[in-house]
């Protein structure tokens, strides 16, 4: 039943830009890969139009997809997966001008992978850390450090909105980590190691103090601006937190009144729109595959 429903989903997208990417897909994995490829191609087209400092910033910002890839490679290497298995799940981020993935895929073990990542010069990993989660946090920290550094080079008039957008993105990521980790009773010291420095949002000191309390409700009290977001986790819906985060980002992007016709913020907003569309389509495909009830399907969508 789900197979014919997936066919209907593919047919529904015929005549759109996605047709080329997913026509002929038989499984959910193939559809997901097709949708991801469509997203990366659109982002690559956007990147090819940018020049100068804007291009450097955009390339750095789009590096988040590369960071996602690196976290997957890291995990799969720990699990001793083969190069073919890895290639099956990776996003084609080389189109976005990222680092070459081949040497990473060929790394024999975790240490070789760490060395290869370090050699790229784009990421800084803790020397003595062997906890994969900490290594992932190191990757994200490197990514956002680079992005914030380049954001400061954008025209001053655009910089405030851009930094606000990035700050919100990091705040949501940090709060999600704190909330879920505290709910699961993690050691506060471990949680602290996973946080990302945010020069345009909640200071790490504030987050650390809240974590020390070991009580997820303290987070809700102290960061009232994110109450709705954090309460999703209290309702024990880890998945809902991800959708809510994107909804907040979209609401924020939609609510910004930019006084100029040309602003870099519009580009970030466009990237967010692409990401939302990709996530919505992926969620629909997964919901169809698992035959989820209609009531739940609606909660998976990020709408206006």
């Amino acid at each position: 039943m789900s197979s014919s429903a997936l066919n209907q989903f593919i047919e529904g997208l015929s005549g759109t830009a996605y047709e080329h990417y997913i026509s002929g897909s038989k499984t959910l994995d193939e559809i997901e890969r097709g949708l991801a490829e469509a997203l990366v191609d659109r982002l690559a087209a956007l990147l090819s139009l940018a020049e100068g400092g804007a291009r450097s910033f955009l390339k750095a910002y789009l590096g988040k997809y590369e960071t996602i890839n690196l976290t997957w490679i890291l995990r799969m290497k720990i699990g001793e997966s083969t190069g073919e298995e890895l290639e099956m799940i990776l996003l084609p981020t080389e189109k976005l001008g990222g680092i070459e993935l081949k040497p990473l895929l060929e790394a024999r073990d975790l240490q070789a992978l760490r060395d290869a990542i370090q050699r790229s010069g784009m990421y800084e990993l803790s020397k003595d850390a062997d906890d994969p989660l900490q290594l992932e946090a190191d990757l994200w920290r490197s990514h956002y450090r680079r992005v914030f550094k380049l954001a400061s080079r954008i025209r001053i008039s655009d910089s405030r909105e851009v930094r606000g957008f990035l700050g919100l993105e990091v705040d949501l990521a940090n709060l999600k980590t704190c909330m879920l980790a505290l709910l699961r009773g993690w050691d506060p010291e471990k949680v602290k190691q996973l946080l990302i420095f945010n020069p345009a949002g909640i200071p790490l000191k504030k987050l650390r103090e809240a974590i020390e309390e070991r009580d997820p409700k303290v987070l809700v009290e102290r960061f009232r601006m994110f109450k709705g977001f954090l309460e999703k986790a209290l309702a024990s819906d880890e998945w809902a937190l991800e959708f809510e985060g994107l909804r907040i980002m979209k609401r924020y992007a939609d609510s910004q009144r930019i006084s100029k016709f040309i602003s870099f913020f519009y580009i970030l907003k466009y990237i967010l729109e692409l990401e939302v569309e990709y996530r919505n389509l992926r969620a629909i495909a997964v919901a169809i595959r698992h035959n989820l009830p209609q009531s739940l399907r609606r909660s998976l969508l990020i709408m206006d």
């Binding site: 995990r75 990776l90 739940l296």
Partner: protein
């Protein structure tokens, strides 16, 4: 059943002794069969309850898996699943139930989940871990039912064979031998009577 039949009183006594032994074996097997039926019925009842609870838990895990997959994509879950390197350790100990060796599964070590997965995946991993213990209990119970049922089948065959073939066979044979022995005793008695009468007649003729 092939027995070389000697129609003697000795054999008759031997057969009667054997029949009594076979009858008590039959009674014992009947008790075993009833006990096995009781064990199986109560195990099936327990299995039904356990399986219903397990199915509910699995449904819950699958729903969460689907929701997480929708939120983060398959790649995130596939890669996160590779983070667990520890193995589950179990011990299977045989337990003797009415002469049948049934396995008892003891969970030696379940991998520690906390802090091993990204926090958004840990909840699902924890739930899946909880399901595993119930899965073992169900597997143990299913093996128990299967093995006892197989033994019940064998016991049933034995009880039926004793009831329908062996005991009636012994009874027939005892009856035949006892008929023959009685007949021969009667013939002996008559023969003795005739000889006695002939001797008396000869004694009377000698006297006359």
């Amino acid at each position: 059943m092939s027995l070389s039949i000697r129609y003697t009183r000795g054999l008759l006594l031997d057969l009667r002794r054997r029949l009594s032994f076979v009858r008590s074996a039959h009674d014992l097997l009947e008790v075993k069969r009833d006990q096995e039926i009781k064990e199986i019925s109560s195990a099936i009842e327990r299995l039904r309850e356990l399986r219903a609870a397990l199915e509910k838990k699995i449904e819950d895990v699958l729903r969460d898996l689907a929701m997480l997959q929708a939120a983060y994509g398959s790649q995130e879950l596939i890669s996160a699943s590779k983070l667990m390197r520890d193995k589950i350790e179990i011990e299977v100990i045989p337990r003797n139930v009415m002469g049948v060796n049934v396995p008892v599964v003891r969970l030696v070590k379940l991998p520690e989940i906390r802090g091993k997965y990204p926090p958004h995946v840990e909840g699902l991993a924890e739930k899946a871990r909880g399901v595993f213990e119930d899965l073992l209990r169900v597997a143990e119970l299913e093996a128990f039912i299967e093995l006892i049922a197989e033994d019940l089948r064998r016991t049933n065959i034995r009880v039926n064979a004793l009831e329908k073939v062996i005991i009636p066979g012994y009874e027939n044979m005892i009856k035949r031998i006892s008929d023959v022995v009685e007949q021969s005793a009667l013939e002996d008695f008559i023969r003795v009577k005739l000889v006695k009468r002939a001797l008396e007649r000869r004694r009377e003729e000698e006297r006359a």
